[in-house]
Amino acid sequence: MNPMIDPQLNIWHWHIPLYLFLGGLAAGILFFAALYTIQGKEKLYPAAVKRAPFITPFILVIGLLALLLDLNNKPYFWQLYTTLRLESPMSWGAWTLMVVTPISFIWCALNIREIFPSFDWKYRWIKRLESFFTKYKIAMSWVLLIFSVILGIYTGILFSAFNARPLWNTSILGPLFLASGLSTGAAYIMLVSRSHAERVMFSKIDIVLIGIELFLIIHMFMGFLASTQVQIDAAGLFLGGPYTVVFWVFVVFLGMVLPAILEVLELNKFRVPVLIPGLLVLFGGLMFRFVIAYAGQASRWLY
Amino acid sequence: MKSRREFIKISALGLGGFALAGGAGMALRTALNQGMPGAAELTPDLTRTPTYCEVCFWRCAGWVYKDEQGRLWKITGNDDDPLCHGRLCPRGTGGVGMYYDEDRLRTPLMRTMENGKQTYREASWEEALDFIARRLKEIAAEHGPECIALFTHGSGGEYFSTLLQAMGSTSVAAPSYSQCRGPREVAFITTYGQGLESPEITDIRDTRCLVLIGSHLGENMHNTQVQEMSDALAKGATIITVDPRFSVVAGKSKYWLPIKPATDLALLLAWIHVIIEEELYDKEYVERHTYGFEQLRTHVRSFTPEWAYGITTIEPATTRRTAREMAAASPAVIIHPGRHVTWYGDDTQRLRAVAILNALLGSWGRRGGFYMPDRVQVPQYPRPPFPEPARTWREAFPDRYPLADLALASGICEASIPGATPECNFKAWIVNGTNLLMTLPDQEQTKEALRSLDLVVVVDTMPAEITGWADVVLPECTYLERYDIIRNSPARNPNIALRAPATGPLYNTKPAYWMAKELAVRMGLGDYFAWESIEEMLDWQFKELGTSLEEMMRTGVKNYPRNFDDIYFADGRDIEFFTNTGKIELWSTTMEAAGFDPLPVYTPHEEPSEGYYRLNYGRAPMHTFARTANNPNLADLMEENDLWVNPVVAGLWGLKTGDYVRLQNQDGIVSTFSIKVRVTERIRWDSVYMVHGFGHADRRLGRAYGRGINDTELMSRVHYDPIMGGTGMRGNFVTFILDDTGKEARS
């Protein structure tokens, strides 16, 4: 009957999971940048505060482009910003991005000399702006800290607000996607860090975050299995159903358990190239969004 | 030696005109998908136009609406129409799709030789009509006009029928007779002296018990009947459904009798037995109106429900309970005679049992049973009398089918093959609105006949298998683009309806009345079509009927009071029936005189051998025969037929819902295409079921080509009814071929 609706919902393709992954990654990176700025540890964690955030404007824009591509009525895109509807995660998520994205640009601008030491803004008014933001850097970090958490949670709530898709309809998805976003953020910082101490720190953070993720995943399944038939069926998609292998092998093992083991080994003085666990976590985070997005559309009410 | 006619495939088409047409088709298709039909330029016109539907033979009256842009928008029912009460069925509602179908025939086509191959070329109307008129005259001169036959299943057939009769031929056949309702008509005429007509005179609205035997009302959308059945259900009527398949109406029935296929007559005889033995029959009615009751009583004495149980698998207690339920509702009970009843070759006898059962329960001529219809006598526009034909269709098959009261489509087809009776051979066919290849069983015989004919003219709106066999294809405009004969349906009250064009014809298409008149003029028979314009003729007829074309354009339908208050038999009054005895003949004198059993006798029919399943077929509410599969709106509701398979059988063959299989019948014939399996509990394990009318093999049908299976091609075994020539089609058995090469054949 209706294409993309029957026989099974298939309205969201690669755009939405990519958008959510990039949003989560940016949220994770910016969270740590803001946190350590507030704590005054910029010197201690230069990658987290200065180097890593340089990617965030790009991935946020790519994410927004993916969202735009997903829209069926693209010319009316601007209607998103004519109203704020708190009941609609899509709406407040779009507004959150409207806050986070400009800050990410400013953040990069303030740190541009980290990359190009001889950079000059040329115009005086820009220089004045620069000094204005530098002056209120801590205040801006607080705003960023709060909005990056909102952004991280939003990537999960966008799904969990849909009661129609039993797999998504669990409030654990918000914290779980936040943890996943922070974990990918930490992994990215590890990748770009040049300081051993910083890498060790983010390795530890990442291990804790992966632990939290696994804990939340177990809880999610416990919740499903103790719930109604439709949620039992939803869990079944991962417990013997079509998404079993991709979820347990790619997301849980390769994306969480294996990098955690590698990081523990590294902390215990085994030589593991930092690239491997970092990329695995990023890959796992991406797969996680894809699996949840597709499996969720396959889960439905019975009637 | 004359070159034999070949079937022309699209790949053999000659001129580039088709490529152009294809391009336009694509544009139209795109427009359809935008929800904006981008048809020819039309002037804005918000008025509604009266019509009656041509998507099936029921012919409900309706209104055609246009939108602000002047394009055909929608069709709704006419509230004053006693057939539809303002509510068309899905096919009538989707009738706009016939107009917008981009695969329509667009211009006359003529068979020609090109590089040693037969092909079609586009022709002007002048050329095509000149050719046909010349050939018809030549054939009539050489073999006699009786050698020209008309097959028709549409309103336009009326005009070609006039043309044929003007030439001196009475061979006008509709497949609705020998492939459909013929046995029923003969059975009721021999019993009551009167047939059931179309629409049937069943008083379902007021019935208290409706018995359906193999009739899947609701899946066949005989509009009035479906509407009245729904009313009856709401009023608490009992429905008893006898069907090996759990049909939709079986799901709404108080009793569903899942009978073993081909054993219905045994059940009917057992019911008659119970009703007589338990003295449940309407004694006064039987006494007053019927003939041969004692012979019947003796005849059915041994046909106990226990006897029938061994044949039908229906438990005796159920047989008795349902018989009592019918009797309790008597006379407001209908043992429905069905419509498509050409099943096993003894169909007239089975329908005789149905007629007898109704007579015993006193339902004929009684409220809630069968009413006596009334209709208008539409005056004929003045024309000369028809010449007396030297031969009639009957002589084409002497000594056979003595009780056939209408020409047999299958009989004419058989008689077109040279050999049997050379002096009675048919030489030319005009085929209007019926795709004979998908209508007549035994396709090989049909093809053999088509190859042998001197002239084949096909008049239709759509390309189809039959158009590939034509010498000349005449593209008819759809019913939404033309005037037609006055509809005059038998009903509780006399009524008439007008069909007027809502828009001019698309492409180079023409109405049938125009074609017939043009041919008649060319053949010197113009006097039979003496009217200047169709409007003039209709207005003349309407004025004779106390109205006018102008009034009918506003009302669409006109209802008249009955001439007499005789819709039901008056109590205590004798009735003269049009039978030999003047009574309802339980024991049929006509049958006896013709050498047939005067009382129905059960004979067993062949059963499927191991690994084979009886091929059952039926209808879907959104399609009519094989003629709507390409209609964009209706194909959207159902684009292919599926094969119903019981889960036990599916398990045996490893079939799942959604698998594609091909079928092979008992004679080794393999279906051209494959069909999607639907595993369902709704069917028995000894049969499979599909909806008729799919599996089109003509590539010009863009949507329908290669979708599903054409059940007709698997009906190589035909059980002819010796009484009236009906073609029993349910004695064919199929087995599965588990590959999907047929599926690939589509692409």
């Binding site: 294409p3 | 998908n33 929800g35």
Partner: protein, 177 residues
């Protein structure tokens, strides 16, 4: 005023007339549908039961599609009918995803489309096209707040069900069983 539709599954034969009537009335493009027919058979041959339902948007009183719409395109109209303003719709698909009945679809023009209860016909005092065409007269349309309306009467007299009431959507499509 609360508009509702009552559908008698005992009368419905599943002919799909409602689907094609909606398609022509509302110019729903070929290949798309605002309403559809569901047949559910339970049991084992020959002990079977069948229910046939003509389904469409449930015009929920607590509509998840309205809640999740980021622009306010999906909204409640007169009588609680849930409508889409095509010019405010960005086609994000959130409402499609949010509907437990899968009643919405992306229109090829870009916006999301769904059953409107034929509000353009209601305004003129007519019934929705599907109700008016049904050959079995199995569909009824009316105001739940009017105790004298046919829908109110039927819901007092007959057994009925709604679809997925546990989803908390408060649907306004009632099926007589």
């Amino acid at each position: 005023m609360r508009y509702a539709m009552v559908i008698d599954t005992k009368k419905c034969v599943g002919c799909s007339d409602c689907v094609v009537a909606c398609q022509t009335e509302n110019k729903v493009p070929i290949g798309y549908a605002r309403d559809w027919v569901v047949e559910v058979t339970t049991g084992t041959y020959p002990h079977l039961q069948m229910e046939i339902r003509s389904e469409r948007c449930n015009q929920c009183e607590n509509a998840p599609c309205v809640r999740c719409c980021p622009t306010g395109s999906s909204h409640y109209s007169t009588g609680g009918i849930v409508l889409v303003k095509p010019r405010r719709c960005i086609g994000c698909g959130a409402c499609i995803t949010s509907c437990p009945y899968d009643a919405r679809f992306p229109h090829p023009k870009g916006h999301v489309d769904k059953c409107t209860f034929c509000d353009h016909r209601i305004k003129e005092g007519n019934q929705p096209a599907c109700v008016e065409v049904c050959p079995t007269r199995c569909m009824y349309f009316g105001n739940l707040d009017d105790p004298g309306s046919e829908v109110s009467k039927l819901l007092r007299q007959r057994r009925y069900k709604t679809l997925i009431p546990e989803a908390g959507t408060k649907p306004h499509l009632y099926f007589l069983t």
